[in-house]
Amino acid sequence: MKALMSVGALIGVIGLLVLIGMILGVVPSNTVKLVEGYMPMQMLSELAIFVAGFTGISYLMSSMGMPLPRFWQGVLFWVFIWMYLKYRVYPPIPFSVRAMYGTVTFVAVFMWVSANEEDWKKFKQPIINVLDANTGFHKALRTLYLILLPILIGGFSFLSMKPSTEEPIELRTVHPAPPASTKVHGKTYTLQTSQNPYRVNPEGKYDQEYSNKLIVEQGMGRLMAPNANPWDEKAEGYLKYVREGGEIFFQNCHFCHGDNLNGRGLHAFAFNPIPANFTDPGTIAQLQETFIFWRVAKGGIGLPNEGFPWASVMPPWEQHLTTDEIWKVILFEYWHTGYYPRTWD
């Protein structure tokens, strides 16, 4: 048991040192990389390892007769989570989300330290000591808190009430709600049932399965499936359309949506919000092909009321592209990102 705990403690200490080193800039921030695509699980696993590490440290310290008081265990764990979220995760997490996570962690620490009477008593003791102020040290501490707390609260109130010149926060609708049907170049498309006419097999028939097989392999790294190179001169059918869609994309769309379709094109940062990132699993991967067709055709302007609050400067591409060209671009976007469009059955 002790050996196991020692290993845990060692891992915990190393992890902490690396994190502190990264915060202070002593250790390069990319020492332990967050691997693209596996970041979410990596983050949870790292936290699990840290928890195991802290358990080990706590166990060893207790067995050496130097137990860390429960109060400080709780406080330090909460501070650790706060630092982890602020300094370990890149790109930075917005404050609103960190505040949510911080609050939940606070609750978690409370649940942990008050799970049984004995622990709760231990946790409360330092607080009660200060409130009772039976020693000179505690009395001084209490006086200090009485002075500091109003100043801190006053400071927070002042900062929160102070007029700011920053742009106001806007809750933007990521997926505006689509209409039941849309009319493009005089033809009506029912969004729930229409299909991309270029998602076809060699016989020229609509075939989702066939195009799925030829799509880049879904997964991180976006590897190309064997025999699925649309830029091959001999490429026919579906793959040929992908190439044609790609050409249209690079003539019209990549300035904003980027070469890698990640929403970071040449002009992207001139806009607020910046263009959609198609490689994110929350964008086109969640949607029907017809939804994208509607968005591309109609652009950001003129969305129905149901879609409010929209915020997009994308032009209505139906004014510049033919219907066929729009469908081909969409084919390319799915092919390039490796996602399959949503279907209803």
């Binding site: 967050l34 970041m39 979410p40 699980m41 983050m43 928890v51 790109p91 930075p92 997490i93 917005p94 404050f95 609103s96 989300v97 949510m100 996570y101 939940v104 962690t105 978690a108 649940m111 942990w112 008050s114 799970a115 049984n116 009477e117 709760w120 920053e166 742009e167 926060i169 809750l171 933007r172 609708t173 990521v174 997926h175 505006p176 709600a177 689509p178 039941a180 729930q192 879904q218 929403g263 970071r264 940062f269 607020n272 919000p273 910046i274 990132n277 994110d280 699993p281 929350g282 991967a285 969640q286 949607l287 029907q288 009321n305 149901e306 879609g307 399959y340 469009p341 279907t343 209803w344």
Partner: protein
């Protein structure tokens, strides 16, 4: 005729009267159904006579949902204008007044529909219990429950009246249209209300007269009738909101086509019914648990504390048993919403109302966190449960990780500077938590951990004596371990497959969670049969924190009901009846998240203030009969419930 026989006869007659009352609305409605429910308007008939030379002309139209043809039997939905005529008003937002009246009626309605179901279950437990003292305690508990609901029932009726008057005075055009479509249903509803009242009063006042033998079974049957009536009442009310969201039985102009079943049985009716039954039960359990917690905290004696500790536990356990399947019922409802109108689904989950779902996820998390916390605290009143307490921190870790994933927003609130620093609307790490695949994993981890907490609680003060206990424990440990692995693995795998297939992954995830629930509970019960007790459950010796957790649980239920009601209603955006009757009032817009949150909080606060009054009335009545109240277990400490 002896007194017992007369009692029997009277009881059977009362039960017969209840069944008669239950069937009465159906009998009354038969002629109405036969005539199509709504008479053809005189003007149409007259016009028909003129054109057809005395013969009424039959106009046919297509059902907007069922796509069947029907005879036009009503006027089109009115086209309202922003005027005093269609939208009379005070110098205040009419919608907010209606919101308040509706929500309060719904809170009380849910409570009085849920509590009799609890009474039925608890009374049944009392009847079948072999331990006489325990049976009496169950019976007393059921009686206490129904006593609280009686006052609440009057308030429900009063609030219902207020709601109708609010509709009539502030939204006359809309209400007139709705009552034209639902005329037979509204009559049946009113009759059902009469039947419910009659049944409830006989059930309550007949309690003492029918407490033994055959009469007790008759009394129990009454509770079944009472609950059938209550459930039908709720189904009928659900048909109105179902129609407003997903109309059927009318044509594109909103003209009634003569088939009342189509109007009732809309696309969302059944998922709404299921969701509401479970929601009401969970809510009812929460409110009663909060009542018990309040009485526990204000108790003066150990005996009182023990009683209310026990009551709180029973109510919490009943409420949570209905809370566990609730997310799955909600999932079904959302699936049906998407199937009905993609637009509505996206407005809810990915669009305008998406942030409210983050708040909802937070509330669901709070519910499960409170439940787990209560159970961990409850281990403290069992001797021998200490062995489990040191592992609680790992359960905290599991629940909180699931919670953090579950509440991660897809649309984040951030300053423009943060947006630029992040490089776009999506975050490479949190963007993955913000979609359904991860969230399904998150909530299933939370529920599975709650099941695990219950299993620990059930074996807190027991040591299994079956010969295969070691093997059983290892099997249980492996089962839970692989359940977690399966749930988390499926959540990750969801990112590597098409979205439509990913949706289907929720089925094996839910199946895993439910397997833990059913198999592990069953296995645990078998293992704990005849187990050695390491000490009794010391009812009343529980931390006060646990009671605050119960109050938290109840408040979170109330808040979440208010929130979900608002979301469900506001998804119609500027329609009174979706795509049929437009809302042209000056308030046909969606409120900001902040305003909605304040309004919901106000409704919650008002409900709790008034329900405190109801509790106080209940306590007032109890004080008059102190001897009778204690008669359940004279001179002895309260017994634990079977199987705790």
């Amino acid at each position: 005729m002896g007194p017992v026989t007369r009692n029997k006869l009277m009881s059977i007659m009362a039960l017969g009267a209840m069944v008669g009352l239950l069937l009465l609305p159906i009998l009354v409605s038969i002629p109405a159904l036969a005539s199509g429910g709504v008479e053809a308007p005189a003007a149409t008939a007259d016009a028909g006579k003129k054109e057809g030379g005395g013969e009424a002309k039959v106009e046919k139209a297509k059902d907007v949902y069922y796509k069947t043809e029907g005879i036009v039997s009503g006027p089109p939905a009115p086209k309202t204008t922003d005027s005093e005529k269609d939208y009379p008003r005070y110098n205040f937002e009419s919608r907010v007044l209606l919101w308040f009246a509706n929500q309060q009626h719904l809170y009380y309605g849910s409570f009085v529909l849920a509590v009799p179901i609890f009474c039925m279950i608890i009374e049944f437990m009392g009847v079948v219990s072999k331990d006489k003292a325990l049976a009496k305690r169950y019976d007393q508990l059921a009686y206490d429950f129904i006593k609280i609901s009686l006052t609440a029932y009057s308030l429900t009726a009063i609030l219902g009246g207020i709601l109708i008057f609010t509709f009539l005075t502030l939204y006359p055009a809309f209400f007139q249209y709705l009552s034209q479509i639902f005329r037979p249903v509204m009559h049946i509803y009113a009759l059902m209300f009469v039947a419910e009242s009659g049944t409830l009063y006989i059930y309550y006042y007949g309690w003492d007269k029918m407490k033994e033998g055959f009469l007790k079974w008759i009394h129990l049957s009454m509770s079944v009738v009472l609950n059938v009536i209550g459930t039908v009442l709720m189904f009928l009310a659900n048909s109105w909101i179902g129609f407003m969201m997903s109309p059927a039985g009318v044509d594109e102009q909103g003209r009634y086509l003569g088939n009342i079943w189509h109007v009732i049985h809309t696309a969302l009716w059944n998922p709404l019914n299921l969701h509401r039954i479970l929601g009401n039960m969970a809510f009812g359990g929460g409110v009663v648990a909060a009542y018990a917690a309040y009485r526990f905290l204000s108790a003066k004696t150990d005996e009182e504390r023990a009683h209310y500790d026990w009551m709180g536990y029973i109510a919490m356990a009943l409420g949570v048993s209905f809370l566990i399947p609730l997310p799955f019922a909600g999932y079904w409802l959302m699936r049906e919403v998407y199937a009905y109108r993609q637009q509505m689904g996206i407005t809810l989950m990915g669009g305008l109302l998406a942030w409210l779902f983050i708040i909802q996820a937070t509330m669901i998390g709070i519910l499960f966190l409170s439940t787990n916390y209560y159970l961990w605290q409850a281990l403290g009143r069992m001797r021998g449960a200490e062995k489990y307490q040191r592992y609680i921190k790992y359960l905290v870790f599991l629940v909180v990780c699931g919670f953090l994933v579950f509440i991660t927003p897809h649309t984040m609130v951030m300053t423009p500077a943060e947006l630029k620093a992040m490089g776009g609307q999506q975050h490479p790490v949190l963007g993955n938590y913000g979609v359904m695949s991860a969230k399904n994993g998150g909530i299933n981890v939370i529920i599975t951990t709650t099941v695990l907490s219950f299993v620990w609680y059930m074996r807190g003060n027991k040591v299994s004596t079956v010969s295969w206990s070691k093997f059983g424990n290892i099997f249980m440990g492996c089962f839970f371990f692989f359940a977690y692995v399966n749930i988390i693995w499926l959540a990750i795998y969801g990112y590597y497959i098409p979205a439509n297939v990913r949706v289907g992954l929720s089925v094996p995830q839910v199946a895993t969670t439910l397997s833990c629930l059913f198999f592990m509970f069953a296995l645990n019960s078998v293992m704990m049969k005849g187990a050695k007790q390491t000490g009794p459950i010391e009812w009343g010796k529980i931390s006060v924190r646990s009671q605050y957790a119960l109050i938290m649980l109840a408040t979170a239920f109330t808040w979440m009901m208010g929130l979900m009601g608002y979301i469900r209603s506001s998804v119609r955006l500027f329609w009174h009846v979706n795509e049929i009757m437009r809302d042209n009032s000056p308030w046909a817009y969606t409120h900001t998240v902040g305003f909605a949150a304040n309004m919901i909080s106000f409704n919650v606060l008002f409900f709790w203030m008034t329900i405190m009054f109801v509790f106080w009335l209940g306590a007032l009545a109890a004080k008059k009969v102190p001897v009778e109240a204690k008669a359940g277990a004279p001179g002895r400490a309260p017994e634990p419930a079977v199987g705790h």
